[in-house]
Amino acid sequence: MSVKMSSRQVGDVTVVDATGRITLGEGASVFRDVIRDLAAKGNKKILVNLADVSYIDSSGIGEMVSSFTTVTNHGGQLKLLSLTKRVKDLLQITKLYTVFEVFEDEASAVRSFA
């Protein structure tokens, strides 16, 4: 199963709920397209909820980093919410914990954008 993504507004924060696998091919490209589209439409506060993402490979990580850069270049912020242990491990191995702001609960994450 590839990744499915849907977005909702919580105040002025756009929360993107991702479900499935972010891997080379459709999964990674869907992730990239959704985030780029949000950034292009002027969304500057983007919170990606990865609670239901079961698997990310190096291509998926690459798209997450690329999306982070895209949003930043548009003057916005991209943060991550509710990582599974395996995804946390990936961010630690790749040192991307030093790049992404990561939150355990949505309310704290939303407040952090203020």
């Binding site: 080379l24 490979d57 980093v65 990936l90 790749t94």
Partner: protein, 139 residues
């Protein structure tokens, strides 16, 4: 030691085939869920390297997969028929200036998820990746 060899096409479907093959062998030996996940990732990353970077999706080139079961370990060899590459030329993805690069983390993840990892020149050409994961070191 039981060895099984497969000759795979240079397609992304072969990534799934290789992962399924390796995980089946790993389950028979008795690897647990977290180790299966790590093995699966290492195999996927190696297969993607072979198909995409090694053989460049060339339909005339194959990926050679070998899976060898022993009581205490699983040995996986993945070889492509590409032009080969020097592993020392791959930029360090953990260097400060490389953290925001989109690609280049595959080898890092493979090293993290298996106990032994070697990249060798293929015979007669290409690149051969040899990975070993030990049951005793698992869990």
């Amino acid at each position: 030691m039981a060895e099984r060899k497969l000759l795979l096409d240079s397609t992304l479907d072969s990534v799934e085939v290789a992962e399924t093959e390796v995980l089946g062998a790993a389950r028979e030996i008795g690897f647990h869920e977290d180790d299966l996940h790590q093995l699966g990732m290492a195999v996927r990353e190696s297969m993607v390297n072979a198909v995409v970077h090694g053989n460049r999706y060339n339909a005339r080139k194959k990926v050679h997969l070998s899976v060898t079961k022993a009581a205490d370990r699983l040995t996986i060899v993945i070889a492509d028929e590409g032009d080969g590459f020097d592993v020392n030329t791959v930029p360090d993805p953990l260097a400060e200036g490389n953290l925001l690069r989109q690609s280049g983390r595959g080898l890092l993840l493979i090293r993290a998820f298996v106990d032994e990892f070697q990249v060798l020149p293929g015979q007669p050409r290409g690149t051969e990746v040899r990975m070993v994961k030990y049951l005793a070191k698992a869990s």
